[in-house]
């Protein structure tokens, strides 16, 4: 903690650590100094001149955004001179501004409007012709209207510093200065939309949102992005049971304001015309629409029949369903259907990590740790493609704290720019080569992908400093939750050993092909893609008619993440609440479908309500007794590690990341038009 400096702002005594900027010191005592270009976390600009303040003994006004506090400094933020300067700046800004607020998407949440309302003049003295430039479309999601731009350069900085993409710059000079994209007339970038989000005015607008609504006509729902395992909070703007926008302007949640293309735009799968709206039952060899009652009764009867004659039922769970659904599914399967054949597609070896860290509590890193650690080691992962939030955190850490980044990967990744060490190798051998350097890192976070799995995980842990914290990367929004909730043949919820391990995912697939399973129940997964045929009674709960669903005897239309409540556990084990944004039309949440089946089969289970199931999870599943207040208030509480050896049958060969890029998202991504639209040339492939 640096030394405290005492100063006075508007007559109020203020104490702030040396180095604090006056604009932030003022905020501490409730004094707002207006600014456009100042943006916490980004490089200082002092370009907009809105934050000019009077400082005693200074010959002229100074910018509070670049002025560090000094001992006995006397600052005044509301003098006539300051007020006149602010008014003057706004008058300058509005000279070439089109003032097309009535048709501007930003209207109602525009910082220029707000500032003019608060500090500006009611009338214009500008009688000259305004400069005009036509609007440009830079990508399917990014539009730029230069006349509205106030040149605060936030977009340029978030793209350079925040994203490491550097796709935006400035061309021309003087009043003709314009923000410009990297490819002459269009953008080739991550299409993350951070530039749009950070734009204080309506200069950068989103192709997905523009001209559809006014901001005050929408409701805002805090959801969790349905795609990757980073689990960003996305605030969905909803009107008429339709999502019109995703962003996180309130900077809440683990991701602050960060979102990538998926969290910001890739909710469009909800309205895809191939979305299943009614149950399907196979009749005369063809899947045909059926009523819920009929379909539930049919499945319940078949399952009961199999159970009664001691047959085998396989259950394959999802990496995208909620913890509640996963828990309920495995309980229903194990305790009521009496099967141990339960598994899901594992994408990272979390189990071996937990096992390897036995006896070392608190060694699982949080999302925040990636921002705060003195050093980060990345092994076998392309974070910018597959875990954009983690990559964002690391970049911010490098920028703000000078963190040292070590990269071990056989292929180029964005993270290696500015890395302290880069090893072009795969897995453990690469780590071995920088072992000595890493030994000196006392505050190290290790992030590893599926290059490290099985016994290699324990070797990795033993190779690195005792104090290191870890993230075992997994692919999808609840990949981690599926593991924690025991969607595994050999492990119960909380990684307790299953007394009689069942068939694994691969074994169930083979058994399905050979017809040695009597029934297979697939919830939110597509395991039979590429399988020749199915000789088993197959029930699938899905959003779309995937390859697996096409083989089914009964298909239940499932609600998507944004259409239900519950919880997700992200890649760092942080549990977050999912709030329902929309009512599903035709479909039902997986939990409800399972509940209907359970009731039809006469099983006595707790009611299929997310809150009730979550309460049970908190009581029963090791590590999940997280603070309830944190959870319900939209925070992220990390589930505590099991801290003991895990008796499991290691199947490293079954653990395989899908290697999605920033523009793909497994089966779900195929139904996101926005993701399809932005892919530039060849499909982006993330190398092995």
């Amino acid at each position: 903690m640096s030394e405290l400096v005492k100063l006075t702002i508007d007559g109020k005594p203020v104490e702030a650590p040396a180095g604090t900027l006056v604009i932030n010191a003022a905020r501490q005592v409730g004094i707002e100094i207006p600014a456009f270009c100042y943006y916490e976390g980004l490089a200082l600009q002092a370009a907009c001149r809105m934050c000019l303040v009077e400082v005693e003994k200074a010959p002229k006004l100074l910018t509070a955004c670049t002025l560090p506090v000094a001992k006995d400094m006397v600052v005044r933020t509301e003098t006539p001179q300051v007020a006149a300067a602010r008014k003057a700046m706004l008058e300058f800004l509005l000279t070439n501004h089109p003032l097309d607020c009535p048709v501007c998407d930003k209207g109602g949440e525009c910082e220029l409007q707000d500032m003019t309302f608060r500090y500006g003049a009611g009338e214009s003295r500008f009688r000259e012709e305004k400069l005009h430039v036509v609007e440009q479309q830079w990508s399917p999601v990014v539009y730029f209207d230069a006349p509205r731009c106030i040149l605060c350069f936030r977009c340029v900085r978030i793209c350079d510093e925040g994203m490491g993409v550097r796709a935006l710059g400035v061309v021309n000079r003087g009043a003709h200065s314009e923000i410009a994209p990297n490819m002459a007339n269009h953008l080739e970038c991550d299409e993350c939309g951070m530039c749009i989000d950070i734009c204080p005015v309506g200069a950068l607008t989103s192709g997905a949102y523009r001209y559809q609504t006014r901001p005050w006509e929408m409701q805002y729902v805090g959801a969790v992005c349905a795609h990757c395992a980073d689990g960003c909070k996305t605030t969905l703007s909803v009107r008429n049971n339709q999502i019109l926008r995703g962003n996180n302007r309130d900077r809440s949640g683990i991701n602050g304001e960060f979102l990538c293309i998926k969290g910001r735009y890739a909710y469009d799968f909800l309205e895809h015309e191939e979305r299943l709206r009614t149950p399907l039952v196979r009749r005369d060899g063809k899947l045909q629409p059926a009523g819920w009652k009929e379909a539930i009764a049919l499945v319940a009867e078949r399952f009961r029949g199999v159970k009664e004659r001691g047959g085998s039922i396989g259950v394959i769970g999802s990496t995208r369903t909620t913890n509640e659904e996963n828990y309920y599914l495995q309980k229903l399967a194990r305790a009521h259907l009496g099967t141990n054949h339960i598994d899901h597609h594992q994408t990272g070896d979390v189990v071996s990590l937990l096992d390897g860290l036995a006896g070392r509590p608190g060694r699982l890193a949080t999302t925040a740790d990636l921002y705060n650690a003195a050093a980060v080691l990345i092994v076998g992962a392309d974070l910018s493609q597959q875990h954009p939030l983690l990559a964002f955190q690391i970049r911010a850490n490098v920028r703000h704290h000078g963190a040292r980044v070590y990269v071990v990967h056989p292929h180029p990744t964005r993270e290696e720019h500015g890395a302290a060490r880069l090893v072009r190798a795969r897995g453990l051998a690469g780590v071995e080569s920088i072992r000595e350097v890493l030994a000196g890192e006392t505050d190290l976070v290790v992030v590893f992908g599926d290059h490290i799995k099985g016994p290699d995980v324990e070797r990795l842990v033993s190779m690195l400093p005792e104090s290191a914290r870890y993230v075992a990367l997994v692919d999808y929004v609840n990949s981690r939750g599926a593991l924690d909730m025991g969607l595994l043949p050999d492990l119960l919820p909380g990684y307790a050993p299953a007394p009689h391990p069942g068939l694994s995912l691969q074994e169930m697939i083979t058994a399905t092909e050979q017809g040695t399973l009597d029934a297979l129940w697939v919830v939110g997964a597509n395991p039979l893609e590429g399988v020749a045929g199915c000789r088993t009674f197959l029930v699938v709960q899905e959003l779309f008619l995937t390859e697996t669903a096409r083989l089914a005897d009964v298909v239940f239309p499932a609600a998507a993440a944004y259409e239900k409540s519950g919880s997700f556990t992200n890649v760092c084990g942080e549990v977050q609440r999912l709030k329902q944004a929309l009512a599903p039309s035709g479909a039902k949440p997986d939990l409800e479908i399972m509940g209907l089946l359970a009731r039809q089969m006469g099983f006595e289970l707790a009611p299929p309500l997310p809150e009730a199931v979550f309460d049970e999870i908190r009581r029963v599943v090791r590590g999940y007794d997280i603070p309830y207040a944190t959870f319900v208030s939209g925070g992220a509480a990390q589930a505590t590690s099991v801290n003991g050896h895990i008796t499991h049958c290691s199947r490293p060969e079954a653990i395989q990341s899908s290697r999605d890029s920033m523009f793909t998202s497994g089966s779900l991504g195929r139904y996101c038009r926005v993701l399809q639209a932005v892919i530039e040339k060849d499909l982006v492939e993330v190398p092995e």
Partner: protein, 430 residues
């Protein structure tokens, strides 16, 4: 290669080799004191003594700001383990200013030696001459001089066997006035967009490539060899108090003998016009003078007795600036002067900060309309107020440079603005 005949009243220190045969060649330079100063600085003086000598000379920055050069050198942390740089600001862009080009064209080695002495003073190993984009022809001259200096062992490794290594490079700008501002120049030198940096830190501590840097104008560096050879006191004595030495004044406008003249600091403006410049053209009356380049507030005919040094001009609310003295006679339309100046600044504003970017464009449009007869009464005050809203509020001094002449013109020549009202044609354009 000299542009105007020398005048007997000149005190030729920096220009003393102008007019000699092959004055740009190292042979001529060596035959006339060339590279003696660096030899002295390296063999007889410590770096501290070099800086002290420059301080004693009262040499003030010739780019326009007039900051004491020796003090600026003294700010460089010599003991820092970081590499240090010498950067020559040869981005001479201030309207009315054309002296640095003569110094580089006629006597490039003097500049090289000045930079070399600065390198000795601050322990720099490399330097750059940042040459204005429009001065492309000078690059050839400078590069030739640099090559000669390398051949003769005045640049490169182990200079004069003293162990000093110094490499010097030319770097060309791309035609932006803003790059004459030292921090924008450094950005441009680093290959970035020429926009000014937040200061502090100043270039002496965080300059080129984030390292300590001595950055001065061409004329400033050119004065240094003479100072080292003849002593700071001798240089100081040539001028007035706190304004040491001579200055190259670029006399232009409505005088009979426009040209670049080296005169002692504090030389009276009236004598400069009447004697050195040969008096007003066609016997017209003097109306106004821009004393130091277009960014300085305009002086009226009644102020023509002022001594031309930094402090005297500051006292009357103007500036000595870059030495560009623009003389205007009674037939000059001051509204048009304001417009002409503002057109330049609107064209050159880098666009970084709001008041400069928008203010210059607004003023240009307003003045153009006004001069064309479309002005209304309230415009006159508005022109002054818009300029006032820029003054002291912009990121760099550019905004002040654009605002100050405008404010002074409206204030001093308000009647001429009134004369343009009511759709009347410009009274001076017949």
């Amino acid at each position: 290669m000299i542009y105007n005949e020398p005048h007997p009243l000149e005190v030729r220190v920096l220009t003393r080799r102008f007019g000699l045969p092959h004055s740009a060649s190292i042979d001529t330079y060596l035959a006339h004191d060339g590279y003696k100063a660096i030899r002295k600085a390296l063999t007889e003086m410590t770096p501290e003594q070099v800086i002290e000598e420059v301080k004693a000379s009262a040499l003030r920055g010739r780019g326009g700001a007039g900051f004491p050069a020796g003090m600026k050198w003294g700010f460089v942390p010599r003991q820092s383990p970081k590499p240090k740089y010498v950067v020559v600001n040869a981005d001479e862009s201030e309207p009315g200013t054309c002296k640095d080009r003569l110094l580089m064209e006629n006597d490039p080695h003097q500049l090289l030696e000045g930079a070399l002495i600065a390198a000795r003073a601050v322990d720099a190993r490399s330097g750059y001459i940042y040459v204005r984009g429009e001065y492309r022809y000078l690059i050839e001259i400078l590069d030739r001089a640099i090559a000669e200096a390398y051949q003769h062992g005045y640049l490169g490794k182990n200079i004069l066997g003293t162990g000093l290594d110094f490499d010097l490079y030319t770097h060309t700008g791309a035609g932006a006035y803003e790059c004459g501002e030292e921090s924008a120049l450094l950005e441009s030198l680093e290959g970035k967009r020429g926009i000014p940096r937040i200061r502090p830190p100043f270039p002496a501590v965080v300059g080129a490539f984030q390292f300590p840097t001595v950055l001065n104008n061409v004329e400033t560096f050119c004065a240094v060899p003479w100072i080292i050879l003849n002593g700071g006191a001798a240089f100081a004595e040539l001028g007035t108090k706190k304004n040491g030495g001579t200055r190259l004044f670029c006399l232009s406008g409505h005088v009979n003998r426009p040209g670049v003249y080296e005169l002692p600091m504090g030389f009276p403006l009236r004598r400069m016009i009447e004697e050195v410049g040969g008096g007003m053209r066609d016997g017209k009356k003097l109306k106004a003078v821009i004393p130091g380049g277009s960014s300085c507030p305009v002086l009226g005919a009644d102020q023509a007795d002022i001594p031309m040094d930094f402090d005297s001009l500051q006292q009357v609310g103007s500036m000595l600036g870059s030495g560009g003295v623009v003389v205007m006679d009674e037939d000059t339309c001051m509204v048009k002067v304001a417009l002409r100046i503002m057109r330049f600044y609107a064209h050159e504003s880098c666009g970084w900060c709001i008041p400069c970017r928008e203010g210059t464009m607004w003023l240009q449009k307003m003045l153009a309309r006004f001069h064309a007869g479309g002005g209304i009464q309230s415009d006159i005050d508005l022109i002054g107020e818009v300029a006032q809203n820029m003054l002291g509020k912009t990121f760099c001094p550019f905004g002040d440079a654009a605002a100050m002449p405008t404010i002074s013109l409206v204030k001093r020549f308000r009647q001429e603005f009134e004369d343009h009202l009511d759709g009347k044609p410009c009274p001076y354009e017949r």
